[in-house]
């Protein structure tokens, strides 16, 4: 069974249009974000905001290191500006600073514009940009469009793509 994105009605495998609402239910764009089966299951409460003291420790961070275990990749990024997380889309001219295309981003459910990471007065924050499969911080699903503070060693999942973040 496949589920219609719009009305959530179940449809028989191989359907092209939803038998209930008529929406196109198969997305064959190879560049499109995969919809992951678990993205709806996790509805746990977001993590409590960290204490102010904890945040001040991370003040003045200039650089972060991202580790992606699935592809054994490590990279360093500058957080003086905004880091957009997503997948590059040459058609719309979108080239996020943290481009996850080559880490199987599309298959693992990373949206083209998934989240942003940026420094603020007390530290570094992450904002989920209403992505298809959501962002998980230490296994807690973040509410979209709301900034959340990050700490050294946090585990972040963009869709099903796991990474660790370290402050340098």
């Amino acid at each position: 069974m496949i589920k219609c994105n719009e009305c959530k009605a179940p449809n028989i495998e191989g359907s092209l249009f939803c038998s209930e609402c008529g929406a196109f239910i198969v997305d064959f764009d190879p560049n499109s974000t995969a919809v992951l089966p678990f993205s709806e299951i996790i509805h746990r409460a977001p993590p409590p905001p960290l204490e102010t003291e904890a945040l001040t420790i991370s003040q003045g961070i200039q650089k972060i290191t991202i580790v992606i275990p699935s592809s054994r990749h490590r990279m360093q990024l500058n957080v003086s500006g905004q880091i957009r997380v997503g997948r590059s889309d040459p058609e719309t001219g979108l080239f996020p600073e943290l481009d996850l295309t080559k880490f199987e981003g599309a298959e693992r459910g990373v949206s083209r514009l998934h989240a942003t990471i940026q420094s603020f007065e007390n530290g570094i924050s992450i904002i989920d940009l209403n992505s298809t499969n959501g962002t998980l911080l230490n296994m807690y699903k973040l509410p979209p469009e709301e900034p959340y503070p990050l700490s050294d060693g946090d585990e972040i999942r963009f869709g099903d793509l796991l990474m660790h973040i370290f402050f340098d």
Binding site: M1, I12, E13, G14, L16, F17, G22, A23
Partner: protein, 491 residues
């Protein structure tokens, strides 16, 4: 298929040669080659003959070979099959696959221009009281137009009916056009609607002629429900189809029974349509007559010899006109193939659970008469294969299929709304009609979308559709299906 691979030509036998004829031809050819040279590895000529014989003498190999011939024979109908997916995954539940099948007549250049079969046409006209005025006037004008287009080779009969039928113009060749016109002018509206009376009288007129030498077609024009005689009508339609007579039926206004007309034309693969306003009668009939005058193939059928694991869920003709196809029988009536336009069929197939990797072979067998070639039924075979794989390649389905299935999905949504209203599910019907309105708008069909929107509100408030809205949406969404075919006519 030419040269060394035309096995029939190599043996000098006809395509329908019996096994004995093939054996005889082979032996005759072989005796011409000295015994010493009968070594296929050294003598190419002998090898060719032997190859041809080996293939054609084995029933199974011959049928495979014949199915290949269909594709390449330039003078024959071309069968083109596209699929929404060529590979499907292993599943423990059923899945769907869509096939778009085009039957393409050979292009004008490839065939010599041969005279068309003359028409044996019967017009069955409703003259019940409700036809009075504009409706009957326009029908009379349309008949004038048809008479004008016919030649002295053609046969025409005209029946008018109410509670009973009158033969206005008996079945005969079109000689005195003036006389025919004045007879039609005298038709006077009165009485009820008993369609069987009209159809039966028309059928009797038509069968007075040798049907083999003509393109036989009966066109019904009505504006009302028939009472109690629907089963008889359908029986007659069945009988007529077996005798090579096609039925088409057009409803004028909004008070007629659309399901009945669909069923009536189904046995012969004919057309049913909605003539919203009387002045469009001419347009509809003109189009219909034009198609009938340019037939390439008559009475084409698809013989359902699919494996048990493959079931036809839905069949729809997209070209030359959009019409649902009854796929419940083994012989599926597709209707006539026009000279200048391919016939396109959309099939929705349900494939049963496939737990192991395999190859599903779907045999297609079309039969029909191609009057130019022979009065005998010709059979075209082709097979289509679907691979069942653990890890199939996910392909984008062809645009033609996506757009055809999109339109089919809108047509079906409208049908579902009707069913839900009949079952009393007003809320579901309202929601679905609103969805349909959105889909129509997305498809760029603003007028139909507006209609659907109004009908959704009407369902929500009154629990029912308007008569006009019902027909407009049904035939409007049906007409969209005719626009989906990728193949342009060869005009």
């Amino acid at each position: 298929m030419t040269g060394q691979f035309d096995y029939y030509a190599i043996l000098g036998v006809k395509k329908d040669a019996s096994i004995d004829e093939i054996k005889e031809a082979f032996i005759t050819l072989r005796t011409k080659i000295p015994k010493a040279n009968q070594n296929p590895n050294k003598n190419k000529k002998y090898k060719r003959i032997l190859n041809a014989f080996e293939v054609l003498s084995d029933a199974q190999r011959r049928s495979i070979y014949d199915s290949l011939l269909v594709e390449t024979d330039e003078t024959s109908l071309e069968v083109k099959i596209q699929s929404s997916r060529q590979q499907i995954p292993l599943t423990d539940s059923p899945q769907l696959i869509y096939l778009l099948i085009d039957l393409i007549p050979p292009s004008q250049q490839a065939t010599q221009k041969v005279e068309q079969l003359p028409l044996n046409l019967c017009l069955v006209i409703d003259r019940s009281t409700s036809m009075k005025g504009e409706r009957l006037d326009h029908v009379k004008n349309a008949v004038d137009m048809i008479v004008e287009k016919m030649t002295t080779q053609d046969i025409l009969s005209i029946i008018s009916f109410s509670d009973r039928a009158e033969v206005v113009v008996p079945s005969e060749s079109v000689q005195d056009k003036m006389a025919i016109r004045s007879k039609v002018r005298s038709v006077f509206p009165s009485g009820g609607t008993e369609i069987f009376q009209g159809l039966n009288a028309g059928y009797k007129e038509m069968i007075q002629h040798d049907l083999k030498g003509y393109t036989n077609h009966l066109i019904l024009l009505t504006d009302g429900h028939t009472y109690g005689d629907a089963p008889q009508c359908l029986e007659l339609a069945e009988k007529a189809a077996q005798n090579n007579i096609g039925f088409s039926a057009f409803g004028i206004g909004a008070e007629w029974n659309d399901k009945f007309l669909d069923e009536l034309v189904s046995p012969s693969g004919g057309q049913s349509g909605f003539i919203e306003s009387p002045e469009n009668v001419i347009e509809f009939l003109q189009e219909k007559i034009k198609g009938l005058g340019q037939l390439y193939g008559k009475n084409f059928c698809l013989i359902n010899e699919f494996p048990k694991s493959v079931k036809i869920e839905n069949a729809f003709k997209l070209q030359p006109f959009a019409q649902p196809i009854d796929s419940n029988n083994k012989t599926i009536k597709l209707g006539d193939i026009e000279e200048r336009a391919p016939m396109s069929i959309l099939l929705e197939l349900r494939i049963e659970a496939q737990p192991i990797e395999t190859r599903i072979n779907i045999p297609f067998s079309f039969d029909g008469i191609i009057p130019k070639q022979s009065s005998q039924t010709r059979v075209l075979k082709k097979s289509y294969q679907i691979m069942v794989m653990l890890d199939p390649i996910s392909e984008k389905p062809p645009e033609d299929i996506v757009s055809a299935v999109r339109n089919l999905s809108m047509y079906r949504m409208n049908e579902k709304v009707q069913e839900e209203i009949e079952a009393g599910n007003v809320d579901m019907a309202t929601t679905r009609m609103r969805y349909l309105s959105t889909r129509l708008l997305q498809a760029g069909e603003a007028q139909l979308a507006h209609q659907a929107h109004n009908e959704a509100e009407r369902i929500a408030n009154m629990g029912t559709l308007s008569d006009e809205g019902k027909k407009r949406l049904k035939y409007g969404t049906r007409a969209l299906l005719a626009q989906t075919s990728s193949l342009e006519s060869h005009d």
